[in-house]
Symmetry: C2
Subunit: 254 residues, 2 copies
């Protein structure tokens, strides 16, 4: 609808928002750092001009230098297999950190691309490591952050190997919903920044299947979909679908 919905457009000045002024600071790296040490973190963070839609933040096989926190917009990460197949490995919303896959070999194993205009904070890893030895809570936060990445990958594994198309899509929508909610945004209505293709790729489904599932979920009155705009009409049922308790709707209230 609103052709002017550049909510995520970055005003030029905002390049230099410091962590202490950033609205994401309660869910981003700063959570791990005390007020007085925030400057130290702030000092190593580089904020360059926003990425435009389709631009790469880094590419697989690039040398690993930094990790990145999303300030606005959405980033998708993906790997390309030897035979050229693309696999989307994640979608990163504001406040989320990406690039940690590069640590183990000093080379990025994913590429990262902006799905829409995106402002990014770059955090040189060597400096972050140094800072982490000084600020144990930052070190700890980092361990947690990587652990969380592992967990979310593993949840996705479960999704891909066990679930039907409906379940996978329900799970993705619920994940996005929860993450929006964490950011103080609507948990029920939001815009999918990625294409159907990306969704299918991420979930291991053909585009056509994604499309069909959206249609089915609309017929069931679980969703209202209008292009990229999604509204969750029946959150409970969507949960049920996501964990295979659908149809009969055992409705184990909890």
């Amino acid at each position: 609808m609103s052709s002017n919905d550049n909510a995520s457009r970055i005003r030029s000045r905002s390049f230099n928002v410091s962590c202490s002024d950033c609205s994401l600071n309660p869910i981003c790296l700063p959570v791990a750092v005390k007020e007085q040490q925030l400057n130290e973190l702030d000092d190593i963070i580089k904020r360059s001009k926003p990425l435009k839609k389709g631009e790469h933040l880094f590419r697989a096989s690039d040398g690993f230098e930094s990790i990145y926190a999303v300030r606005s917009g959405t980033i998708k990460t993906y790997t390309v297999s030897e035979d050229g197949e693309e696999q989307v490995t994640g979608f990163y919303l504001p406040g989320e950190v990406l690039g940690v896959d590069g640590i183990c070999n000093n080379i990025h194993s994913n590429s990262a691309k902006a799905l829409e205009t995106a402002a990014i904070c770059e955090i040189p890893f060597t400096q972050l490591e140094a800072l982490s030895t000084e600020i144990p809570s930052l070190q700890h936060h980092f361990f947690k952050l990587m652990s969380k990445e592992i967990q979310s990958d593993q949840q996705l594994l479960m999704l891909l190997s066990k679930k039907t198309a409906e379940e996978r899509i329900a799970a993705l929508l619920l994940s996005l919903s929860a993450r929006h909610s964490l950011r103080g945004l609507s948990a029920t209505g939001f815009r999918l920044p990625m294409s159907r293709n990306d969704i299918g790729n991420f979930l291991g489904l053909a585009v056509e299947t994604v499309s069909r599932v959206f249609t089915r979920l609309q017929k069931q009155r679980v969703l209202a979909v209008d292009g990229k705009e999604v509204e969750i009409l029946d959150h409970k049922l969507l949960c049920a679908i996501s964990n295979g308790t659908a149809d009969g709707m055992v409705s184990n209230s909890a």
Copy 2:
């Protein structure tokens, strides 16, 4: 064949092998620690009596206290979804470290079970963190280790969403082969410590499919399989199969 192949049997004394005496030290945590500091690492490691086949090292929802390094044997990790479905998330060979998934919520999200008698080093995480702030190379190693876990999960993702049954199994066999090789063991002949069921579960396939694929690969002379014993007869072809370059065998020598 050899009914006495208890290569992995632990002699009672070996409970207390220190890191400096452990044959795995070039591939395990000690790689990150200088000779003189090895004692400090050694001091926080607990070595209890070996797990017997089927015993749990920890269970999902257990409080997270420690991470674990496998000294001998094989550990499988798995999660259980709300609806009770099990998903195998990994197999851990000697020298590999597991349990890091628990860091982010202070609760293990996986269960870990011995597939055969297994000796384990337990490393209390709080102490490891403290030590990591003192030994930057240890901190770095840890970041690497977790990063590697992320990468391997992501490779598995690719496997599950893109690949055929043949490709998945080829990839698993190649992974095991490479890891054996890294430990100085045969890359071509080894024993699968896990059941066909575990393989199928891990790869997102029905047991029957796993069985059928093994049979097919044998007919193609790629493998010789005798129960849990596997021999890779045609490594090159197995690689080709694993990345979808099979049949026509484009044989892009490299």
